[in-house]
């Protein structure tokens, strides 16, 4: 922890700063610029101040998208974090099955995001999909292209399919790092399986869980390609989340000003959540 003070270290960090700044700062400036102007063409722009922000904050379509987004991200965390921990506990600790399991688990993470949508489209269609045909054959009236709840549940299950592996792999890494002595001591102390989880595994997983929750929140909050391919945001607006609404505004309707204002609000929500979450964890550490 006793790091040396060394200002020349900036030279080592400089390439990173330059590369990231090129892709981050200039585009961000552009967005801020758009958000404050009304743009008709390259040469006719008007400064409109916070007008776009006010308009965006009053837009009911955005409220709907934001509401759906919060419910969706909440559901994602509530399902994937406990499920990921449980499955990580089920993974074997050593032996030939470790590699096999890890490879199979990692596979969904390496599917291009729009192809995830394609896979589930093919899988869940009530006419040609395995899951769709199966559900209808056991008497459920399932059709994700027509029914809002079906569509919503399908998108959620698709996300669970796609991303739970990330939580599993992170937790598995965390579990691997717990020395055997802890389990041995717990056995000698007569601890139940639950007590081992509650007092040894869960506290030791805190670090990786922080990362898992943050990443899952961020990536679920910016979800775009998968539902876009699967449902196109429908039926109606049932599965239109923030990114899709934003893309429609910016690319579809070319409402650059509101889209930019909206972008900034969107970014701030994510930053705020991450920051609050980060502080909460820090405080939990200091207690006692």
């Amino acid at each position: 922890m006793d790091k040396r003070e060394y200002q020349w270290a900036w030279l080592m960090v400089l390439p990173v700063v330059l590369v990231v700044a090129f892709s981050a700062i200039m585009p961000l400036m552009t967005v801020v610029n758009y958000s404050l102007q009304d743009i008709f063409g390259p040469d006719s722009r008007f400064f409109v101040g916070t007008e776009w922000f006010k308009e965006v904050l009053r837009d009911p379509a955005l409220h709907g998208a934001l509401f759906r987004q919060i419910i969706f991200s909440g559901a994602v965390l509530l399902i994937q974090i406990p499920l990921g921990i449980a499955l990580a506990l089920c993974l074997p600790k050593k032996g030939p099955w470790v590699s096999v399991s890890l490879v199979l688990l990692a596979l969904p993470l390496l599917v291009p995001w729009n192809v995830v949508g394609t896979i589930w489209q093919v899988f869940a269609r009530p006419d040609v999909g395995l899951a769709g045909v199966f559900l209808n054959s056991i008497g459920l009236d399932y059709n994700y292209t027509g029914d809002a709840i079906d569509a919503w549940v399908t998108v959620l299950i698709m996300d669970v399919w796609h991303w739970t592996s990330l939580v599993i792999l992170l937790c598995y890494a965390g579990l691997q790092a717990i020395p055997d002595a802890f389990y041995q001591a717990a056995r000698i102390d007569g601890a139940s399986r639950w007590a081992v989880f509650r007092y040894i595994e869960l506290p030791k997983l805190k670090g990786v869980l922080l990362i898992a929750i943050l990443l899952r929140f961020i990536f679920s909050f910016r979800i775009y390609a998968e539902p876009f391919v699967l449902t196109g945001g429908g039926p109606g607006n049932a599965t239109t989340f923030l990114s899709q609404r934003l893309t429609t505004m910016a690319v579809g309707q070319f409402d650059l000003g509101p889209a930019a204002a909206f972008s900034l609000i969107y970014f701030l929500i994510i930053l705020l959540f991450s920051y609050v979450f980060y502080l909460t964890i820090l405080n939990m550490d200091r207690e006692g």
Binding site: L91, S99, L104, V111, T118, S263
Partner: protein, 267 residues
């Protein structure tokens, strides 16, 4: 101790993960007629027509080359700039280090949708639109911070005494870094490269926005080709299968390192 129940649960989960992929594969091997008329768990009339159709389409293979090119470029750039930076963060205190680190991390959080238009404008104005380097650079926005974050974790695990001993022995920094330090954290570098590959490979929103023909990614090529000809399920499934292959190959080759990297570092 209930280990059977554990493995049954895990087994069921793996089946759940594989079912959609199995179905995709099966559909790619069926004729459209079969897909629409009968429902069967495996092809009654096995056909590779869909694959033949895609492989003979001249617009197909450049997509593969494009994706591979920009992903590799991205991994190389990310590692090259992230390695010295991660070393600096793990070893030194300097003005604004904590703020800089947090600023880097915020870039992982930025929704790509926010950057679509600005990226388009930016790369257009510097004449990089529709080039591989543009996609690689755009992806560094989230791969570089991620790489710095992961590598810093691995590097902090290496005792500082090693550095000091090497300097006393008269090693210059570059020589020490390349010949002593890098080999020590090679599984960390492997894990980092894997994550960079993964995020660059799966991202398509940005890649699609800043390319048109010359650097168009494979997954876009496929879904566009397929989309144009209506709902051709067999062809769509085949395109899907073919985009899975590179990812699956990469995981298979790095599986040992991933397991070791996970065991070593705080990822």
């Amino acid at each position: 101790m209930g280990s059977n129940r554990r493995y049954i649960f895990l087994g069921l989960w793996l089946v759940f993960l594989m079912l959609p992929i199995y179905w995709l594969l099966m559909m790619s091997l069926k004729t459209n007629q079969e897909i629409l008329s009968t429902f069967s768990l495996w092809p009654q009339n096995l056909t590779v027509d869909n694959y033949v159709k895609i492989f003979t389409d001249a617009t197909w293979y450049p997509g593969y080359i494009n994706s591979t090119l920009y992903v590799v470029l991205n991994v190389v750039i990310s590692l090259t700039v992230a390695l010295p930076a991660a070393y600096a963060f793990s070893r030194y205190k300097f003005l604004g280090d904590k703020h800089l680190f947090f600023w880097l991390l915020t870039n992982i959080m930025a929704p790509p949708a926010v950057f679509l238009l600005p990226f388009f404008e930016l790369y257009n104005s510097v004449g990089l639109y529709d080039t591989h380097i543009a996609v690689a650079l755009a992806h560094t926005l989230f791969t570089v911070p991620l790489a710095v974050w992961i590598l810093e974790g691995f590097m902090s695990g290496v005792p500082k005494e090693i550095d000091e001993t090497a300097y006393l022995d008269g090693y210059s920094w570059p020589r020490f870094f390349l010949t002593i330090f890098l080999p020590l954290i090679r599984s960390g570098v492997g894990v980092t490269a894997f994550f960079c590959f993964m995020f660059s490979w799966v991202e398509l929103l940005i890649a699609r926005t800043i390319t048109s023909t010359e650097a168009k990614p494979i997954a876009v090529t496929m879904t566009r080709t397929v989309g144009a000809s209506g709902l051709d399920w067999g062809l769509l499934a085949t395109a899907g299968v073919l985009t899975l292959v590179p990812g699956a190959l990469v995981i298979w080759f790095v599986r040992k390192h991933i397991a070791r990297g996970f065991a070593l570092g705080r990822v």
